[in-house]
Symmetry: C3
């Protein structure tokens, strides 16, 4: 997330009651996890194994659990528990406030947009013009929805990313502070979930159309003119380029890329990046032509067995 | 969809500002896509490849993008973009109106029926007697629900069918004008979606019971006394006869028939029509007995490999 | 279910207008189906095949469709239709009452708990302190939720178990009278369903975290610190021990046990009990290492075929 206005290092450090190394006036413009950082961002690192990665990342402020000199152009904040310190900052800059009505006073809704009954719209949500939001949809704080968007009943936009760390006696939550951004002319079916980014944004680009019961995990980007059939599940942190078609109940792993124009046939599970303009099938998904051959070969198995015994 | 009262050809043509060939008093009784048409219906055709099919269909009025003589007993309306002209008619005869309260004034609700809080009921919905509609259900305009029906929380009845045409720069929506019809003694679990027909009806017949998270696509017919376990997904335009049992997470392709009394075991994917009173399993689903043999054979593969090398 | 205060045999029998054999002052403390019974419970049996099981069960009162002497310490109630008689009692002791507002007057909600707009909370629900219940969640009557619990939008807690008996001309519902119990520090994603127990409780234990679109069937127990990814489906009456991880779209059969610390990889279908601390994959799920070998072997099939022909 980006702060509404930049913060000074000394202010940030004081919020988490920590010492720092760097210019007190050093500027911090936002919070981001290590995989997503940009210059100006603050991130954290709590394990020796990842020190190098964090210190060499684009982040310009790092919360770290070791005393050391700060690298050129970066500031360090010392904390015995960088994870907890970072979560404190997330909650400070993205506080959750109880809503007192179905449509927040701070929401902005464009002309000719129809909001049906039972729709919840959280703080600072922006919805464009000429949209149709059907009954009982829930839109969490800070989401942005473009023009000419249709969202069907029961769909949930902007719930927290599923991101937990298992400890011995409990599970710790990595608090989400990102957003969901839905561009113009998108249509989302009934009972879908589009999770907010953990620290960045989950984006659905123009003219993409989703059927019902679809799950889009945190920090996913979905390109233009994609068509996803019912019950498609995108785990998160995945990039799906323009004109991709996913048929019913396709599952897509995290951290991969599905390139432009790829088609994945129903009930497939995609565990690796896919090339452009090819058709895939199976668990794990491979080129459909290869899968058909494999299935034909399987049908010859009894014949093969009989020759062998 | 059927019009509330029949329309004359000349009126229909004037709505889309088009020339026509036929008796101006020729009667049009409803709108239907080419796969579903009945006498009296208007349909459209926009590609040479399908001219014959449309002209020989049961439709008695056809919007077409070629000047020609009208066949015996049929009327033609000329349009450069028959798809757009047809969508104009759908929107004209099934206009969407913003709802101003959770339960529409035009809805009819039978005696002893309980509507829990947070339920949305759209225009012209009819609900029979002795039903129980749990909290936060959404029922779109024009749906019809019989007597003694139970619908659990969060379920969405009558959202639009997922039916889009991909063009170079955008995706065009085929607007739905059909309905959902739920017969007596049906029970539908929580968080299910039953989509309306694109131009006909989606029907769930008597005593059928659905578990949670089920998707029934547009223009599907489901017979009597069927049992569908959790997360079953019916793609649409499929006919499922009486007494069919589908276990958890079964996926069924569009445009097929599952005959009376068939059983499909969990996590199967049905891509072809299935015979009556047989048990099926697998992806794609085959007779379960055949699938068990195939799986037994697979377990012999290491033994076979060792004999060969 | 347990009665609020114990009932005498004679009272119970009079509610279903039936004769009984046993001390009229014999005490009945609750209702339970045969698989779950404890001393004090009343259960029913309607088929000769199960008479022995019912008569030897821990149930101390049995509705039965045969006249016989009651075993030591047990009471019998005679009925021509024990199923219908039992359902009459369920409805008598767990009557459904129409709610007149989103949050029932009989619900108890702890300090610092935030209930967002559009949330339905039924009769006798108890919610602990410091919880966050997001918009449009539905919580059925009698559910119990601990402290520090988060439930995301659209989720449905306590809908009826999916439990029907097929008869020739109809399907009979086994009415649920159990509850859902959610312990402290649990987080449940958006659009999940946690069904109530049919006669016992469905339990989710401390620090367990569920992603979106998850289905937990009736009478399931889920241990501490489990993590379930999106679209996991637990059929019901299953025991999942502590620290189990289920990845996306995993399906788990009913009546099994997944032992402590087991991990099941995405899109697997678990049909048998799983051992502790092992990783499983596939349909049906087997040890992942075994599945990898099987998949490697399949890739050799064309080579094998070529050697044979």
């Amino acid at each position: 997330m980006k702060f509404e206005s930049p913060e000074f290092l000394k202010n940030i450090a004081s919020l988490i009651k920590s010492d720092f190394q760097g210019n007190p006036e050093h500027i911090v413009t936002g919070l981001n996890e290590i995989h997503m950082v940009e210059p100006g961002d603050l991130t954290f690192v709590d394990h020796e194994k990842y020190y190098e990665k964090a210190l060499n990342s684009k982040a310009t402020t790092i919360i770290i659990n070791k005393k050391m000199d700060s690298p050129e152009g970066k500031a360090l904040i010392y904390s015995e528990d960088p994870f907890a310190a970072y979560m404190t900052l997330v909650k400070k800059f993205r506080p959750f406030k109880k809503a007192d009505k179905m449509i927040s006073k701070t929401a902005t809704i464009g002309k000719e947009t129809i909001i049906q009954p039972g729709v919840f719209i959280g703080e600072n949500v922006v919805i464009g013009k000429n949209c149709l939001i059907h009954a009982n949809v829930s839109i969490y704080d800070h989401c942005k929805i473009g023009d000419d968007v249709i969202i069907h009943s029961g769909t949930v936009i902007g719930a927290d990313g599923f991101y937990f760390q298992k400890r011995k006696d409990k599970t710790l939550k990595f608090e989400s502070c990102g957003r969901v951004i839905i561009k113009n002319h998108v249509e989302i079916g009934a009972l879908c979930t589009i999770d907010k980014g953990v620290s960045g944004d989950t984006v659905i680009d123009e003219y993409t159309k989703l059927d019902n019961h679809i799950q889009i995990g945190h920090d996913t980007y979905i390109g233009k003119r994609c068509l996803f059939a019912s019950a498609v599940l995108i785990a998160g942190v995945t990039r799906i380029e323009d004109d991709v078609i996913l048929w019913g109940q396709v599952v897509v792993n995290k951290d991969i890329v599905i390139h432009k124009g790829a088609v994945v046939l129903a009930v497939s599970a995609v565990d690796k990046s896919l090339e452009a303009n090819q058709t895939y099938f199976g668990t794990p998904a491979v080129l459909a032509s290869k899968k058909w051959r494999e299935m034909a070969m399987l049908r010859k198995l009894p014949e093969m067995y009989n020759k062998l015994v």
